[in-house]
């Protein structure tokens, strides 16, 4: 399955991926309207220490700890993709505690959110990959 990978060597830590991700998940057609004066909730996050930067998003693990930990079945694995059923989430955040990558987070309305590969849904490149200015984030089979 194609996944989002980050080449740390080329990640500049500009955090644009976070904004493009938040925009892609906003249901708005204008980036300004979607993000202006709002706290952004992105499914990808840039980790930075000293000169090292890299973006992290859901790895869609073979054995997903978040799915194992989910007590309501809100998180499920479908065709290799780990998806969220927002109606079933009860905000217990066990998944957030379980995920070793910190790739699950609470959304604006409290239910959890995570990368569900917008590419897989739209058929295009994921927004973070498309928006990366240095091709540090790639979407490929490995």
């Amino acid at each position: 399955m194609k996944r989002v990978y980050v080449n740390e060597q080329w990640c500049l830590g500009c955090r644009l991926c976070e904004y493009y991700c938040a925009f892609a998940n906003s249901n708005e057609s204008d980036i300004v309207k979607a993000l202006k004066d709002k706290k952004i909730h992105s499914n990808i996050r840039v980790e930075t220490k000293g000169n090292i930067n890299f973006a992290v998003s859901c790895r869609h693990c073979e054995e997903p700890l978040c799915v194992k930990g989910c007590i309501t079945g809100a998180l499920q694995k479908k065709d290799g993709l780990i998806v969220v059923d927002k109606d079933r989430c009860i905000h217990c955040y066990t998944c957030i505690v379980c995920c070793p990558y910190g790739a699950v987070s609470p959304s604006a309305d409290g239910v959890i959110q995570k990368c569900e590969l917008c590419a897989k849904i739209s058929g295009n490149q994921p927004a973070c990959v498309k928006g990366c200015i240095n091709q540090a984030i790639v979407y490929e089979e490995r």
């Binding site: 080329w10 976070e18 904004y19 000169n51 091709q135 540090a136």
Partner: protein, 499 residues
């Protein structure tokens, strides 16, 4: 007190700014700043070099740079530029430094030359349906038929460079440009079947794998020159001069001589890399001949030797001498040629336009019957496929592109290379900035540019009814001048439009 008012102003559309802080993150000049108490961005115009990094990456197009309309009292003699230069020098006591090519308002002869096309009596050729040859060979051509003892014709030739298209990346040293910029040029040259040039900074050990597409340079500082450097190259270039700064040497500050740059140049870390103005062993054509043949001897006469000179007033006589020195190829660099740093006054006032230099050198070599002995490469602001077509019709065999290649990689011609803080990761050695140039993107952009120019050149050749670049070479009847004086037309060797 700072006398200088910022030349550019950063204009931020606050209605569109989403405070993502990417501009702040990406500006090496620290122009942008986040004001936490007000949750908004602020810009400090003083340090903006107008490189467009922030403008280009801004996800909401909230930024633009404008030229300040702040002005001095009108004076067509003492312009604002002149006054500011005096302010700067009165402050620093130093030589004014600039980068990239001469930006001043001198005539661009390429823009006053028009290209011919076929109509009715001689059919034009469609390059999409018929063969169109853009391949060229550079090197000394056979000018006499030689036979062996059995009367068979000797078919051997002097060593040649084989190019798929008459374009090469001109000399830019590792040190003046980054590792990633060099890798991009090398990869692109390999993919395109052309050559890139190391400049005088030596060849990084990682790039020996591109050796068959590498021209190595031997310049007055002799940095990084050793046996395997010469052995690995496809050709060797002796740099006598550079269009941006004819008659003077180079100076790469010690701050840029770090790590691999120092190893590659074979000089201690932190020491200034000073290239003398002349080669201290060359004071005549005879001396040049000694170096040409030393290099040929060292490489077993297997590689063509290029001699690069700047276009100066007596370039014709110099080129004639160089052709007789044993060089296989002469490269002429015009006064618009780029640089990583040069004294402003020299860059802007020394040398002559490449179009005039090329036309007169080609004519002189023909008149003397030695044009076949050498190939001619011209550089110094080749900006488009039409500049190449015009240069070839004026007599060039091939062109060097430097600035155009950098622009393809992302350079926005802010002309601040001398600061070493290139926001595009090109003219810098700072690791955080170097990584901004991802060679797999930059190399593809170079390949795209040359491929696009190749398409355009084929179209123009076809339009002229010519099916090979060789048939255009020195074919000045394919050119007409507009708005040129009789003297200019005479030097260019072309007719005026309508003639």
């Amino acid at each position: 007190m700072n006398y200088i008012y910022p030349e550019y102003e950063v204009v931020r559309n606050y209605a569109r700014c989403i405070v993502c802080r990417a501009c702040e993150n990406q500006c090496a000049n620290c122009v942008h700043r986040y004001i936490e108490s007000e949750n908004r961005m602020e810009s400090k115009d003083d340090d903006c070099v107008n490189c467009h990094r922030c403008v280009t990456i801004c996800p909401t197009r909230a930024l633009k740079i404008i030229k300040s309309d702040h002005t001095f009292r009108y004076n067509s003699n003492w312009t604002g530029k002149t006054i500011n230069e005096i302010f700067k020098q009165a402050e620093s006591g130093g030589v004014l430094l600039s980068s990239m090519g001469n930006p001043e308002n001198y005539p661009v002869y390429f823009d006053k030359i028009l290209i011919n096309a076929s109509q009715v009596t001689n059919p034009s050729i469609d390059p999409l349906r018929e063969p169109m040859e853009t391949r060229v060979f550079l090197g000394s051509k056979v000018h006499k038929i030689k036979r062996d003892s059995n009367g068979k014709i000797d078919t051997s030739t002097a060593p040649q460079l084989d190019l798929s298209v008459p374009i090469m990346f001109s000399a830019m040293s590792y040190g003046s440009i980054s590792y990633n910029a060099h890798e991009s040029l090398a990869k692109a040259a390999e993919k395109l079947g052309i050559y890139y040039n190391t400049g005088e900074g030596g060849l990084h050990e990682d790039f020996y794998k591109y050796s068959k597409n590498t021209i190595v340079q031997v310049a007055s500082g002799r940095f990084g020159v050793h046996k395997s450097y010469l052995d690995t190259a496809a050709a060797i270039e002796i740099k006598m001069g550079q269009g941006a700064k004819p008659g003077i040497g180079g100076h790469l500050p010690g701050a840029k001589i770090v790590g691999a740059v120092s190893r590659t140049r074979m000089i201690p870390e932190g020491s200034d890399a000073i290239s003398p103005a002349p080669h201290h062993d060359i004071y005549s054509i005879e001396d040049l001949r000694q170096l040409v043949f030393s290099l040929k001897e060292a490489t077993d006469y297997k590689k063509p030797v290029i001699v690069k000179i700047a276009a100066v007033h007596n370039v014709t006589a110099i080129a004639s001498g160089v052709a007789r020195s044993g060089a296989d190829i002469i490269a002429i660099d015009g006064f618009r040629g780029g640089t990583g740093a040069a004294p402003t006054k020299i860059r802007d006032n020394v040398g002559i336009p490449i179009e005039l230099a090329l036309a007169s050198v080609d004519k002189r070599l023909r008149d003397e019957g030695i044009r076949d002995r050498v190939s001619l490469i011209v550089g110094g602001s080749i900006r488009s496929s039409t500049d190449i077509i015009k240069a070839i019709a004026l007599g060039a065999d091939c062109v060097y592109i430097g600035s155009a290649a950098l622009i393809a990689m992302g350079c926005h011609l802010c002309r601040s290379c001398q600061s070493g803080k290139c926001n595009w990761g090109i003219a810098t050695q700072i690791p955080n900035l170097v990584k901004r140039l991802n060679p797999s993107i930059a190399y593809q952009r170079l390949v795209n540019l040359v491929t696009a120019w190749n398409h355009e050149m084929r179209e123009m050749l076809g339009g002229m009814g010519i099916n090979s670049i060789e048939s255009l070479k020195g074919n000045r009847l394919m050119l007409r001048g507009v708005g040129l004086t009789d003297k200019e037309l005479e030097i260019l060797g072309i007719f005026h439009a309508g003639e």
